[in-house]
Symmetry: C3
Subunit: 331 residues, 3 copies
C-alpha cells in the first residue's frame, strides 16, 4: 500500500501599510502567504508492515504575487525517512525541531501578516530569531502519550572539523486536558573568524504554554536569544522575545488578538529599540479548505529606532501600521 | 466537493529559418511551443455552496528544448479567487484582461510560430505589443449572455505613489450567431524619469471581429499602440498593428492563413520599417489531445530595416522565412 | 485513453569520506541520490489507435540535502513524441542513446555513490566521460526481438553551420538467454577555436557485456575516449575506462562488487594518474519501492595525482575512501 498526494496551500491578499518608504509614504500591495506561506508539494507514505512506514515529502514555497518560487524548488521540505513504533527518522531538508514545536504555541501560527514568533521585525543589529530549517538534516521525532519530543542535526559538512557550521535543535511538548507546555533549544555554529580563535555561535531557547477551554484559547511564549561573536572582544548580542495571545472561536469565525515584544539587550545607549507589535485577526471559514481573513497590526520601537511589521522587509519609520485582507485555499 | 488537476500542454518541433545569423546563414533548431507555449500546472475548484466556488491555478512555462522553466516557476498563473453569480475575482499573478480577450481574435491563437498578435517581430525601437500578464494583480471577469467583460489591475507597489508603475487593463467581447466582437484597452504606467516631471506611459487599445460560418472562420483585428516618453521633449512612439486570417476545418485537418502588419509611425526618415508577416498553417488532429502541425511564414520590412519572424529573437535581415513541423500533446 | 502519472525517486543518505579537504580532513555529509539521482516528474501516454501512442515525460533532479532543483526544472526529461510499431521518436530534452544503452551494463547503474561508468573522478585534464543528455534533441529508438537500437541528435543551432556544436549518439544492445551485449558511440562537435581552422571534437565509444545465471550477474564494459583539440598543434586527449562487476541476489538482499579503472593516455611524464576505484554495495529491499543500502569505495591514483570518489567533486588526495548509508523510495 502506498500513496501519492499532490497538495498545496495558496494564500493571497491585499495589504495596506503606512511608513513604507523613506519619505514615510504608504503602500498598497498584493501579498502572498499572509496567514500561511503559500506552498505546493508532493507527499506520501508506504506501509512496510509491522507498523513501519516509508515517508516522504517534497514542498516548495510560492510567491503568489509574481508566481516565482520562494527560494529553491523544494526548499520547505525534501526528505525521505521511516516512521514506526520507535519514532520517525527523516533525512534531507526539513523544518527544525524548534520550528515544529514552537508553531503550536504561536497564537498566529507564524503568519507573516503578522507574527514575530519566528523572527522580529526590528531593523537593529539582529532579528533575534530562531532557525526554521536545516540543510543536510537528520531529524528524529518521537511520541509517547501526550509527549512529543525530537532532535535535529544539520551537518556542517566542512572537511576536518565536524563542529564548524553544525546546527542542532532539540525539545519537546506535552498536551493534555486543554493544557500545552513546550521547551525547545537550538545551537547554530558559525565559522571561525580569523584572527579569532573561536567560532561565532547562536544559542536560542523557547518556553511556551497554551490553554484551551471551550471556545477560548490562551497562549504565551518566550525566546531567549544569544549570539556569541567569533571576534573575542565583541560583546554577546542578546534579545528576549515575549508573546501572548487570546483566540476565540464563534461558529465559522475565529478571532485572535496577540502582542509580540522584543527586549533588546546589551545595546549602546540610544539604540535599545525594544520593539512591540499588536495584532488582531478575524478569520471566516467558507469551508474546511477555504478561509477569508482580515489582519491588522501596529508596531513601534523606542529610542527613535526603525521598526517594521514584516519579518523580511526593513522598517523605515519608528512605527508602522498595516491591514491585510486575504483568502486562503488548501488543496 | 473539491478537485485537483495536474495538467499540461507539451509542444515541440523542428524549425528551419533563413537569414538567422549576421552573415545571413540559415538555422535548424528544436523549438518549444510552436503552436502554444509549453506549460504544466495544477488547478482546481471547490464548491462553496450557493453557486460560489473557490478557484485556483498554478501554471509555469517550459522550454522543451532544454527542459528549463520559461521564467519563474509559476509565472503563467499563480492565483486564488472566488467565482460566482456576480463574476470571478482572482488575486495573484495571471494573464491580463487584454490577453484573455485578444487571444480569441487571433487566427493563430498567439502561436509563437507564427503570430504577431501579442507583439511584433520588428527590431526597430519597439515591438508595439500588449501586456500579457501582470504581477500583483487583482482581476475581475463577468459574464452575461454572450457578453464577457473584465478589468485587471497590477499594483505598482511604490511607497507614497499608487500611480507609479500601476498597470490597468479592461475590455469586453460579445459572441452570438457566429459573430464575435471585441474591444480591449490597457494603460501601463512606468516610472518618473528625472529630470522629467512626468512618468512614461503606454496606452494600447484593440478592436477585433470574428465570423464563423460552417467550416470557415474569418478573423480581423487591430491594435493601436502609443508610448508617451517620460522625457518631455521626446516624441510619442506609435505603431498600429493590423491582422486578418481565414481558417477552414476539413475533418481532422485545420488550415489557417493569416497576415500581420505593423504600421510603424513617427519614425525618422529611412527607418519606417512597416513590417509584414504572411503565415500558413496546417494542423492534423490525431486525437483530441494530440496534434501534428506544419507552419510556414515570411516576414519583410521596408527601408532596409531588420525583421524577424520571432517575437523574441531580434531579426538579422530585411526578410526572413521559416517553416516549423511540430507535435503538441495536452494532458 | 490517456494517463498522467506523478512519480519520483527520492534517495538520501549520510556519507563519510576521508581526504576531503586540502589538509586531508575527513567529512560527514548528507548526500542526495547515492544509488540513483533523486528526481520527480510527470509522464504519460495516449493511445492513438493502430498501435500508435503519444508519449511524454517531464522530469527534474532534486538535491535532497538542500531541496534545490538539480539544474534546470525539467533538465532530466522534457519531451513529446510518438511510439509505435516502427519505433519511438521523441523531440525535446532527454537522455542520449549512449546513456540509455550503457546504464544496463554498469553493475552499479550509474550510482553517484559509487560508479565511474558515466565519468571518472580523476582531477587531471579530463573526466574521460560520455554525454548523458542532449539539448535540442531528436531521438529514435527501435526494438526487434532482443535487439534495441537507436540514434540521438542534438542540434547545434548555430546559424550558417549545422556541424558547429552538433551532437550525435548511436548504438544498440542485444539481450537473450541471460546474455547481454552492447555497443554505443557518440560524437560531440565543439566550436571552432580561432586561430584554429577546425573545431574541437569528442569521440566516445563503448563496448560491454553482461551475463546473468541464477542469482549471479557478471558485467564488464569499456569506453574509449578521444578529444581532438581545435588548436591544431595540441595533442589529442585520450583515456580508456574499463569496468567490471559481480552482483548476487539473496532474497531481499543484493550484493555488488565492482572495479572501475581509467587508463589515462598521452599525458606528460609524471601525470599519468591511471585512477582506479573499488566498490562494494549491499542493498536491502524493504518493499518494491523502498530500499536501504550501504556502499563503500576506495579510489587511488598513480604518480601522486589527485583523485576523488565523486564524479562531481575534485579530489584533494592521492587516495580517497568513503562509505554511504542511504534510503531510497520510489513513488
Amino acid at each position: 500500500q502506498s500513496s501519492v498526494e499532490l497538495y498545496g496551500l495558496l494564500d493571497v491578499g491585499v495589504e495596506y501599510v503606512n511608513h513604507a518608504g523613506d519619505d514615510g509614504g504608504s503602500l498598497a500591495r498584493v501579498i502572498s502567504g499572509g496567514k500561511n506561506t503559500s506552498r505546493w508539494g508532493i507527499r506520501g507514505s508506504e506501509d512496510l508492515g509491522g507498523g513501519l512506514k516509508a515517508v516522504y515529502n517534497l514542498e516548495g514555497g510560492i510567491l503568489m504575487d509574481t508566481g516565482a518560487a520562494d527560494g529553491a524548488l523544494f526548499k520547505r521540505q525534501a526528505y525521505v525517512g521511516l516512521d514506526g513504533k520507535y519514532g520517525r527518522l527523516v533525512i534531507g531538508r526539513s523544518f527544525t525541531t524548534t520550528y515544529d514545536l514552537v508553531i503550536k504555541f504561536d497564537p498566529l501560527g507564524f503568519a507573516p501578516n503578522y507574527s514575530w514568533a519566528t523572527t522580529g521585525g526590528a531593523t537593529g543589529p539582529s532579528k533575534y530569531g530562531m532557525t526554521t530549517s536545516f540543510d543536510n538534516m537528520v531529524k528524529y521525532t518521537g511520541k509517547s502519550g501526550g509527549f512529543t519530543y525530537g532532535a535535529s542535526i544539520g551537518l556542517g559538512e566542512r572537511a576536518g572539523n565536524a563542529n564548524e557550521g553544525r546546527k542542532i535543535a532539540l525539545g519537546g511538548s506535552w498536551f493534555g486536558k486543554g493544557l500545552g507546555l513546550m521547551a525547545a533549544c537550538e545551537q547554530v555554529n558559525g565559522t571561525t573568524v580569523a584572527p579569532a580563535i573561536r567560532r561565532d555561535r547562536t544559542n536560542v531557547c523557547h518556553l511556551a504554554s497554551d490553554y484551551t477551554t471551550g471556545d477560548w484559547r490562551y497562549t504565551a511564549g518566550m525566546r531567549a536569544y544569544k549570539l556569541r561573536h567569533g571576534a573575542a572582544a565583541t560583546a554577546d548580542l542578546r534579545g528576549n522575545t515575549y508573546w501572548g495571545g487570546i483566540t476565540r472561536v464563534i461558529d465559522d469565525v475565529t478571532l485572535t488578538g496577540a502582542v509580540y515584544h522584543i527586549d533588546t539587550r546589551n545595546l549602546p545607549a540610544g539604540q535599545d529599540a525594544d520593539p512591540t507589535m499588536f495584532v488582531a485577526r478575524a478569520m471566516l471559514a467558507l469551508s474546511k479548505r477555504t478561509t477569508l481573513y482580515v489582519s491588522a497590526a501596529h508596531a513601534k520601537a523606542d529610542e527613535g529606532q526603525l521598526v517594521g511589521l514584516s519579518r523580511d522587509d526593513a522598517g523605515t519609520g519608528t512605527t508602522q501600521s498595516g491591514i491585510t485582507a486575504g483568502i486562503q485555499h488548501r488543496f
